[in-house]
């Protein structure tokens, strides 16, 4: 029997090629989109779960409250380590980590610069990144050791055995390779090429040693490995209030500690008022919903085309019933047809995904692959296939099998009003979703454009930045002179951060006219050389720039407008403020606001202080007539001279700034892509429906033409209904899109207000696409010879 069903389905597929093509193309597109999004969601959800025993791995989060607002950060104070190790039962391992930095590694003439972390001895017993050589418990014990990933080891040593070999770190420390790690997969939150013992950092950085007993310095991250059988609920009450107990200075800020499990690191990065409040998971959910929507739109095509075609199938249903078929036979038959069509579509869908996976990976910056080798994948795919077949096929199956045999055999198959209404409702769903997606895409791009057009407050053009090593810091004056002397560069400065970051945050604790109720002002701090503002192209709007003899300005600071507004200083120049643990300084200038952090938020209050120490960034602006392509090899030569341990690396300020829009641009691109696909699949269905409507009304059209109807009148006759449906969809899509977008926009302080024009534009776009889609059929029907349609009756 089943063979009979498949046979008839196959022959039907071949016989009604156009119909099959529309159905398969639509369903394959829908299934491919859903599969692709599914793979992406799976990839995002798999972060850090590859680590053995990841359920026992936690990171400490620190919460503190200022003026009623609770902030959450990972940075902790070092004395916490000892308490965690000795006083809290249930914690098996504790390991510190720094924030990860690029360092240079040298072996003989081979040098490379890549990201690595300083981590505590127990690190690999908590985050169990698989070791190929060495023991997790001991590889990080010796302060002068280094653990390399396989790829890094190969880059440095080629085919030679790296174990026990020497590696020079940052052109200063001689280290010995103590272990080899398997390469860190793309779905690891921590990305690194090597690990260094935290004890080494203590040896080479005096400030780390000094911070050992300092509760007010929070500069590192802390990871915990809980003992087997111990969970978050047991540990949290024991650690929650440690800070308030141990450090009276912190008490006014209501400090609390909490744990975040490894499985949440990637997806739940955002905290609000001290509690996890989502993060990347919101996008994962959003696109998961969109994936399902596109699949539903594709399934609706199948349903609508099948029920529209029902008159053609009615006779078959009648005959089968007359010769003894029960309704369940017919339901099984139509579901089998749906299964066949879905299977063909699925095969095509997988092929599509396979073909677009590489470009998609580039688009979203991921390493997704199709896990063909995993049985679970195929099991899920079978379930996916069956569910889709059921979703697409159930309505036609129940509808077609319900036909009354007598009526359909007599040829008196009437238009079923319920079926027509059902079909219209389904078209409404398709177009409402598609138009909502179009609206969303437009608004996301408007928001991005709005923020991109915001004045940055500094000149990005031709501005370049490089990280400063120890060598560069030592040779700063020399390299500055060489750079300027070369004529390639017109300005050079150094600072504690590049043009697109602020690395330090501190407080201004006192200032003239401070309201006694107000504790202090949290402020970003940039240490800058005397040429910083000139190099950045930032405008001093009151007072003066730093003096070229910076020593003379050792007690001067320059504040930005945002800081002045927050401090409510009417006449700031010459005023004395207190910052950074009781340092009294004088405001000598006010600089125009510049976006150093997120372009989506208001400019952060920032203090600029003169730099006397080693800094992290060197900033330099190319001379106007210098082409970057020609300049870079020459710049590399100058940098190599003073920074032999590092390869020359640089970024352009405009590119760094553009990266701040990465997530938003990604969301915009994906929304645009899926909106396009949704409208494509919807139109495919509309095209098929229009064809059926035209065929169904062939005789009517023939008679109307005999009576003198024009092509325009025929076009209107066939298009009217669909245009009306799309118009209603526009109305339905508006609140749908508003609901999602208002939430999305609310996370940005600097945002557009949604204009009604956008909705009109999206509606117009949908209408134009609809008109193009259905006009083909309407014009074909309108230009056919009436005699053909009348003769066939």
């Amino acid at each position: 029997m089943f063979r009979n069903y498949i046979k008839i389905a196959l022959r039907g597929l071949v016989k009604h090629r156009a119909y099959s093509f529309i159905n398969i193309l639509g369903l394959a597109t829908g299934m491919a989109v859903t599969l692709l999004i599914g793979l992406w969601v799976y990839h995002e959800a798999s972060y850090d779960r590859f680590l053995p025993d990841y359920e026992q791995v936690y990171q400490i989060k620190r919460h503190y409250t200022i003026e009623g607002e609770t902030h959450t950060i990972e940075a902790i104070a070092l004395p916490l380590v000892e308490i965690m190790e000795n006083d809290i039962p249930g914690i098996a391992h504790v390991a510190l980590s720094d924030w990860g930095n690029a360092h240079s590694l040298m072996v003989g003439e081979t040098k490379l610069s890549s990201q690595g972390y300083f981590v505590g001895e127990d690190f690999l017993q908590i985050l169990k990144y698989p070791l190929l050589r060495g023991e997790p418990a001991t590889v990080l014990n010796d302060p002068n050791s280094i653990v390399l990933t396989e790829q890094t080891a190969t880059a440095l040593f080629g085919d030679a055995d790296p174990m026990g070999q020497a590696v020079k770190l940052d052109n200063s420390q001689e280290l010995t390779v103590s272990g080899i790690l398997r390469d860190v997969p793309g779905n690891s939150t921590m990305q690194f090429s090597y690990l260094l013992p935290f004890s080494l950092l203590e040896n080479i950085s005096p400030y780390v040693r000094e911070a050992r007993n300092e509760w007010l310095v929070n500069s590192f991250m802390l990871y915990l490995g809980l003992a087997p059988g111990v969970d978050q609920e047991q540990i949290t009450p024991l650690i929650e209030n440690i800070l308030a107990e141990k450090s009276p200075d912190l008490k006014p800020y209501d400090p609390r500690l909490s744990l975040q499990p490894a499985a949440d690191w990637h997806l739940y990065g955002r905290y609000e008022n001290g509690r996890p409040a989502g993060g990347y998971i919101e996008y994962v959910r959003l696109f998961g919903i969109i994936g399902l929507l596109v699949l539903i739109i594709a399934c609706i095509n199948f349903m609508n085309l099948a029920t529209a075609r029902s008159e053609k199938r009615a006779k078959e249903v009648g005959v089968r019933k007359a010769i003894g078929s029960k309704r369940k036979h017919l339901i099984v038959q139509f579901l089998s047809e749906s299964l066949l069509l879905t299977t063909v579509s699925f095969a095509l869908g997988i092929l599509l995904v396979y073909l677009v996976l590489e470009p998609f990976n580039q688009l979203v910056g991921s390493e997704i692959r199709i896990p063909f080798d995993q049985p679970l994948f195929w099991l899920l795919m079978v379930a996916y296939l069956l569910l889709t077949a059921l979703l697409a096929g159930s309505r036609p199956a129940f509808y077609l099998s319900s036909f009354n045999a007598v009526r359909v055999l007599k040829g008196g198959m009437q238009k079923q009003r319920s079926a027509v209404w059902g079909r219209k409702a389904l078209v409404l769903i398709q177009f409402s979703c598609s138009i909502a997606l179009i609206i969303s895409t437009l608004i996301i791009y408007q928001q991005i454009r709005h923020v991109q057009d915001r004045p940055t407050g500094y000149l990005r053009d031709r501005l370049m930045m490089s990280e400063m090593s120890e060598d560069l810091n030592r040779n700063y004056e020399a390299i500055k002179a060489d750079l300027l002397g070369s004529g390639l560069v017109e300005q050079v400065a150094k600072a504690s951060g590049s043009a697109s970051e602020i690395n330090f945050f501190t407080i201004i604790s006192n200032w003239p006219g401070r309201n006694p109720d107000r504790a202090h002002l949290e402020i970003g701090a940039v240490r800058a050389s005397e040429t910083y503002f000139k190099t950045m192209g930032m405008e001093i709007i009151a007072g003066r720039d730093f003096k070229s003899n910076l020593e003379a300005d050792s007690h001067s600071v320059i504040l930005n407008e945002a800081a002045i507004r927050q401090l409510q200083l009417d006449d700031p120049i010459g005023q004395t403020i207190n910052w950074n643990r009781n340092q009294n300084v004088t405001i000598v200038g006010v600089v125009k606001d510049a976006i150093l952090l997120s372009p989506f938020t208001p400019v952060h209050p920032t203090l600029f202080a003169p730099s006397f120490n080693h800094e992290s960034s060197i900033l330099y602006r190319l001379s106007p007539n210098v082409s970057p392509r020609e300049a870079i090899p020459q710049l590399a030569e100058i940098f190599d001279r003073y920074n032999p341990a590092f390869p020359y690396e640089y970024q352009f300020a405009d590119e760094a700034y553009a990266r701040k829009f990465q997530l938003e641009l990604l969301v915009g691109k994906l929304a645009g892509l899926f909106a396009g696909l949704a409208i494509f699949v919807s139109c495919l269905g509309l095209f098929g429906l229009a064809a059926f409507m035209a065929e169904q009304r062939r005789k009517e059209i023939g008679i109307r033409k005999v009576l003198g109807a024009t092509l325009m009148q025929i076009w209107l006759l066939l298009s009217r209904e669909f245009l009306l449906l799309v118009l209603i969809s526009c109305v339905l899509a508006t609140p749908l899109a508003l609901y999602f977008l208002q939430d999305w926009l609310l996370q940005y302080d600097y945002r557009i207000s949604i204009s009604p024009l956008t909705f009109v534009l999206a509606g117009l776009l949908a209408l134009i696409i609809t008109v193009i889609t259905i006009s083909f059929q309407a014009i074909r029907a309108g230009t056919a010879r009436p005699v053909d349609s009348l003769r066939s009756e």
Binding site: R11, V319, I323, G324, S325, A405, G411
Partner: protein
């Protein structure tokens, strides 16, 4: 075999009610060949649909082999159709996507007959209606007469006790029509009860008895044999 008493059937649309059968009674004995005649709209086809369990009467009694089937649900009616009744339609009603062989085989599939037995029976019947040489053709590749022969073969494949034929020659020329009537006569001679609706006096003469209908009632009967 078939016994109906006082059967009524009305069709309603939004505004109009049409009486198709109005208290009609009819007896058909096993092995009989009955022709039903009457003008268009007199209720012939409605009667045939009710006899074939494709439609339900609004009132009256329907005994099939002495059992009252008027209140059977759709599933039991489907079973009875499969078991006892074969249909031959004016417009053949073959499934275009299936070959001659597969069309005839279909009732056996619903009946759960094993493959070997199916093949034997289909070939036997196709041979009997002389269409064996066209077994792999599709309906659209056949003439009207050939299609109706296939339809007859499909109607008898389950060896039904009754064949209901609704103007079986209505779409055929006289030669093909005669061939189909010959086929039905042979079936009747081998014991199958036949009830046939027809407009053709010529075809009606193949039957044993002609029942004439008007406005949903029988108005005359003439026995030919």
């Amino acid at each position: 075999m078939i016994s109906i008493h006082n059967i009524a059937k009305r069709y309603r649309t939004d505004e109009v009610e049409t009486t198709a059968l109005n208290g009609l009674s009819l007896e058909v004995k096993p092995g009989e060949f009955v022709a039903i005649m009457g003008p268009s709209g007199c209720g012939k086809s409605t009667l045939l649909n009710i006899l074939g369990l494709l439609d339900e009467a609004d009132g009256g009694q329907f005994l099939l082999d002495g059992i009252d089937v008027s209140r059977y649900n759709e599933n039991r009616r489907a079973e009875l159709r499969m078991e006892k009744i074969g249909f031959v339609f004016q417009n053949f009603n073959l499934i275009d996507e299936l070959t001659v062989y597969e069309n005839v085989e279909l009732p056996l599939l619903y009946n759960g007959i094993k493959a070997g037995e199916r093949k034997k029976r289909v070939e036997y019947v196709l041979d009997k209606v002389q269409i064996m040489h066209r077994r792999n053709h599709y309906p659209t590749q056949l003439s009207g007469g050939q299609q109706q022969r296939v339809a007859v073969a499909r109607a008898v494949i389950n060896q039904p006790a009754i064949i209901l034929a609704d103007e079986p020659t209505g779409n055929l020329d006289s030669q093909n029509g005669n061939e189909v009537m010959q086929l039905l006569t042979e079936l009747n001679e081998s014991g199958t009860t036949i009830v046939m609706v027809t407009h053709s006096e010529h075809d009606a003469r193949f039957s044993h008895r002609i029942v004439r209908m008007l406005d949903g009632q029988t108005v005359a009967e003439s026995v030919l044999v």
